[in-house]
C-alpha cells in the first residue's frame, strides 16, 4: 500500500497546477478570512445637510440650555459625515453613489423638539435619502439609520429625563431654581410637611381647622413619597428594556476562532473530497484498477490508501491555513496538538466520503463534479443556526448535517481553537462517518470494474 501512496504522491508532484492550487488555496483563504475578521465593517459615507441655523441649535429645558447638535452626536459618530450645502448637492451625491445616503436636518427640528417638551404633539423629523438598487443594500441602510437615530433619541431622552428628575427633586425636597437670570427659592414638599406639622401643634385638637390641616399634611406626605418613586420611573423610561444574556448551549467561541474553524472546515471539505474522489476514479480511468485488485492490493486496501493520501494532503493544507490565519486572529498555539487531531479527523472523514463519491461516480470528471456540487449544500446545512428555520425543518437539517462530516469537523475545530466544548463527541462522530463511508465505497466498487 505504501508503494501506491508513494506513486500517488509522485503523480501529485508532477501535476504542477494541482499542487499550486493546493498550496495557494489555503494561503488565499487565510488572507481573505483574516482580512474579513480583522478589518470590521467601515463607516458608511453619509451626506449631512444641516439646515438648522447655528443660533437655533439649543432648546430650553427646565431653565437649562440643551445643545441638540451635541446630543445627536451618536448619529454622526457611526457614519463618515460628508458636509453638503444644499438639498440638490445631497441628492446628486446619493445619485452618483458617492455616499450611501443623505441626512437632511430640517430648520424647524429644534423648534419641534422645544414644542414637544412643552406638550406639543408634532414630532421632530429628520429626512434621509438613499439609493435602493438592491434589497440587501436597502436593508443595510435602513437598519443602520434606525439604529443610529435610536442612539440619538436615547441620548436626548436621557437628557430630558435628567432635567425632569431635577424638577421632581426640587418639588420634593425644595431648593433654588433659576430661570431667565433670576433665582427662586422653592420650599418643597418635605419642608412644607414639616412646617404644617409644626403649625398643627398650635391649633386646638378636634377643631375644624385641625382636621383641614391634617388633610393637607397627609396630602403633602403622600405627594412627597410618590414623587420619590418618580425618579426610578423616569430612569426606566430612558432605558425601558435591558438585556441580560445567558448561554444555554455551546461555548463562547471568539469570532476570529469561529471564522478560522469555518475556513479550515470548508477547505478540508473541498480539498479532501476532490483529491479522494479524483484519485480513486483515476485508477479506473488509467485502467489500473483491475490490474491492482487482481491480488496486488485488496479493494479495501486501495480505498484505505486513497483515504490516507487525501487525509495527508488536506490535513497539511488545513494546518498551513491555520498557521496563516494565526497571523490575523488570536489562536491558542498551546493547543496545537488538538488542532492536528481535529484537522486529521475531519480530513479522514471527508476522505472516506470522497472515495465513496469516487466509487459511485467512477469517472474523474463526474467524481469531481459530484464532490464540488455536494460540498456547498453540505457546508450550508452545517452552518444553519437553530432558530433560523422552523423547528421541524431544523431537526431535518440536523439529521442531514449529521450524515456528513462538515458539522462534526466544525465542532471539533471550534473545540480545538477556542477551548470550549468537548472534542470527543465530534471525533467519535467523524470516525464513525469514516467507517460508514468507507463501507459505502467498498460496496460501490462492485460496479467500478465495468
Amino acid at each position: 500500500m505504501r508503494w501506491l501512496l508513494a506513486k500517488d504522491l509522485r503523480i501529485l508532484r508532477r501535476s504542477p497546477f494541482l499542487v499550486a492550487l493546493l498550496v495557494l488555496y489555503p494561503i488565499i483563504i487565510a488572507a481573505l478570512v483574516g482580512f474579513a475578521v480583522t478589518s470590521g465593517p467601515g463607516k458608511p459615507r453619509v451626506a449631512i445637510l444641516n439646515l438648522v441655523p447655528p443660533a437655533a441649535n439649543t432648546i430650553s429645558l427646565g431653565g437649562e440650555k440643551v445643545n441638540v447638535a451635541k446630543q445627536a452626536q451618536p448619529l454622526y459618530d457611526s457614519v463618515e459625515p460628508i458636509r453638503v450645502h444644499s438639498r440638490a448637492e445631497a441628492l446628486q451625491r446619493v445619485r452618483d453613489g458617492d455616499v450611501l445616503g443623505a441626512l437632511i436636518i430640517p430648520p424647524d427640528i429644534t423648534q419641534n423638539l422645544q414644542a414637544a417638551t412643552l406638550g406639543g404633539t408634532k414630532p421632530a423629523r429628520l429626512q434621509f435619502l438613499f439609493n435602493a438598487e438592491d434589497p440587501a443594500k436597502q436593508s443595510f441602510v435602513e437598519n443602520t439609520l434606525k439604529a443610529r437615530v435610536q442612539d440619538a433619541n436615547t441620548a436626548l431622552a436621557k437628557k430630558f429625563t435628567r432635567v425632569a428628575a431635577d424638577y421632581i427633586r426640587l418639588l420634593s425636597t425644595g431648593g433654588t431654581f433659576s430661570i431667565i437670570g433670576s433665582s427662586f427659592n422653592v420650599l418643597g414638599l418635605q419642608r412644607t410637611e414639616a412646617i404644617l406639622q409644626q403649625v398643627s401643634r398650635s391649633v386646638p385638637k378636634g377643631s375644624a381647622a385641625a382636621k383641614q390641616l391634617a388633610q393637607v399634611i397627609q396630602f403633602a406626605t403622600l405627594a412627597r413619597q410618590n414623587l420619590g418613586l418618580a425618579n426610578g420611573v423616569l430612569s426606566a423610561v430612558g432605558t425601558p428594556i435591558r438585556i441580560d444574556t445567558t448561554i444555554v448551549k455551546g461555548g463562547k467561541t471568539p469570532l476570529g476562532a469561529f471564522a478560522a474553524a469555518v475556513a479550515v472546515a470548508v477547505t478540508l471539505m473541498f480539498v479532501t473530497l476532490l483529491l479522494a474522489a479524483g484519485a480513486l476514479a483515476l485508477e479506473r480511468e488509467e485502467n489500473a484498477f483491475l490490474r491492482l485488485v487482481r491480488g496486488l492490493v485488496s479493494q479495501t486496501g486501495l480505498l484505505v490508501e486513497k483515504v490516507g493520501l487525501a487525509t495527508i494532503c488536506s490535513a497539511a493544507v488545513g494546518l498551513i491555513l491555520l498557521v496563516g490565519l494565526s497571523f490575523f486572529v488570536a489562536l491558542p498555539w498551546s493547543r496545537f496538538g488538538l488542532w492536528v487531531i481535529a484537522v486529521a479527523a475531519g480530513a479522514l472523514a471527508f476522505g472516506a466520503l470522497g472515495v465513496a463519491m469516487g466509487a459511485l461516480a467512477r469517472e474523474v470528471r463526474a467524481a469531481s463534479l459530484l464532490a464540488f456540487m455536494a460540498s456547498l449544500p453540505i457546508a450550508v446545512l452545517g452552518l444553519v443556526p437553530s432558530g433560523a428555520v422552523s423547528s421541524g425543518l431544523y431537526d431535518l437539517v440536523r439529521v442531514v448535517s449529521a450524515a456528513f462530516p462538515f458539522k462534526a469537523t466544525l465542532d471539533a475545530l471550534k473545540a480545538a481553537l477556542s477551548q470550549t466544548g468537548g472534542m470527543s463527541g465530534p471525533l467519535l462522530h467523524l470516525i464513525l462517518l469514516a467507517v460508514v463511508f468507507t463501507a459505502v465505497a467498498r460496496l460501490a466498487l462492485r460496479r467500478f470494474a465495468y
Binding site: W3, L4, K7, R10, I11, R14, S15, E286, N287, A288, L290, R291, L292, R294, G295, L296, V297, A449
Partner: protein, 258 residues
C-alpha cells in the same frame, strides 16, 4: 443449451487437455457468465499448454473479453470452472493499464514492488531489455507511442513471470510495423515456454500466430482447433477447398447462422 458440435477437435472438447495433447497449464470447463438476463458465455471450455499460442476470435459481443477476465480471475463465472490454473496468470487488458505520469521504469518498478519481486531493479532491467524500451526508461508513459505503450503494458503483465499470459486485443490500434514488432515479442515469449491466450478481431493474426484457434459467437464456442482444421471444416461444408483463412472464418460463421 446451444449446440457445440462445431468443435472438430476431440482434444479441445475434452476440458482439461490441450488440443495438441500436452498437459495444459490453464484449462477451463463449461464456463457460463450472465449479465442480467443476457448470457455472455454459454458453456465455453478452453485449454492452453506451455508455449502454446491460443487465439480467441469472434465478432463483437462474442464473449472474448469476458472469457479472458474469468480466466484472469477478475470476475467469477456463474457456471463451470477453471479446472487448472497456475498460481500466477499474467493479464494484459486491451487498454494500456499504466500510469501516464510515471516514467516507463517507474511503472515497472511500482508493479514489480506490488508483485513482491525479490529483485525489483533486476526485474525492471530485464523487462526493459525484453521489451526494447531501455532507451525510453526515463520517459513518461503518456509520451509513448501506442505500440510502446502496449509493450510496456505487456511487460507489466509479465513482471511476475507467469506461465500463462492473457492478452486482450493486444494489437488493436497499432500500425502494421508496431504490430509486427509486438508479435515478434509475443512469439519470443511463447518460444520460452509461456502459454499465451489472446483475443483478437484480426483473423490474420489468429491464423498466422495461433497454434490453436477458439471461435466464439454470442457466448458459444463454435470451434476449437488449429487454423488449418477450421479451413478444412469450412471446405468440407461448402464443398470448396482452398481460399484464405478470413474467408473461411466468415463462411464458418455464416454457416452457423452468425
Amino acid at each position: 443449451m446451444a449446440h457445440r458440435a462445431a468443435s472438430t477437435s476431440a482434444a479441445a472438447d475434452r476440458a482439461g487437455a490441450s488440443p495438441h495433447g500436452h498437459e495444459p497449464v490453464l484449462a477451463a470447463r463449461d464456463l457460463v457468465k450472465r449479465y442480467g438476463s443476457r448470457e455472455a458465455l454459454r458453456g465455453v471450455s478452453v485449454a492452453a499448454a506451455p508455449g502454446e499460442l491460443v487465439a480467441v476470435i469472434g465478432p463483437n459481443g462474442a464473449g472474448k473479453t469476458t472469457l479472458l477476465t474469468i480466466l484472469a480471475g477478475i470476475q467469477p463465472a456463474d457456471g463451470g470452472q477453471v479446472v487448472t490454473a497456475p498460481e500466477r496468470v499474467g493479464w494484459v487488458p486491451q487498454q494500456p493499464s499504466l500510469y501516464g505520469k510515471l516514467t516507463v521504469a517507474e511503472n515497472l518498478r511500482l508493479f514489480a514492488r506490488l508483485e513482491r519481486r525479490p529483485d525489483v531493479e533486476g526485474t525492471v532491467e530485464q523487462m526493459l531489455d525484453q521489451t526494447a524500451l531501455a532507451d525510453r526508461a526515463g520517459d513518461l508513459a503518456s509520451t509513448l507511442s501506442g505500440g510502446n505503450k502496449q509493450r510496456l503494458n505487456i511487460a507489466i503483465g509479465l513482471l511476475a513471470e507467469p506461465p500463462v499470459l492473457l492478452l486482450d486485443e493486444p494489437s488493436a490500434a497499432l500500425d502494421p510495423r508496431q504490430r509486427e514488432r509486438l508479435w515478434e515479442f509475443i512469439g519470443g515469449l511463447a518460444a520460452s515456454g509461456t502459454a499465451v491466450i489472446y483475443a483478437t478481431h484480426n483473423v490474420q493474426e489468429a491464423e498466422r500466430f495461433g497454434r490453436q484457434v477458439v471461435v466464439l459467437a454470442d457466448g458459444e464456442r463454435l470451434f476449437a482447433g488449429s487454423p488449418g482444421e477450421l479451413e478444412r471444416v469450412v471446405g468440407e461444408r461448402s464443398g470448396e477447398a482452398g481460399g484464405d483463412f478470413e474467408a473461411a472464418f466468415v463462411e464458418f460463421l455464416r454457416q452457423r447462422g452468425h
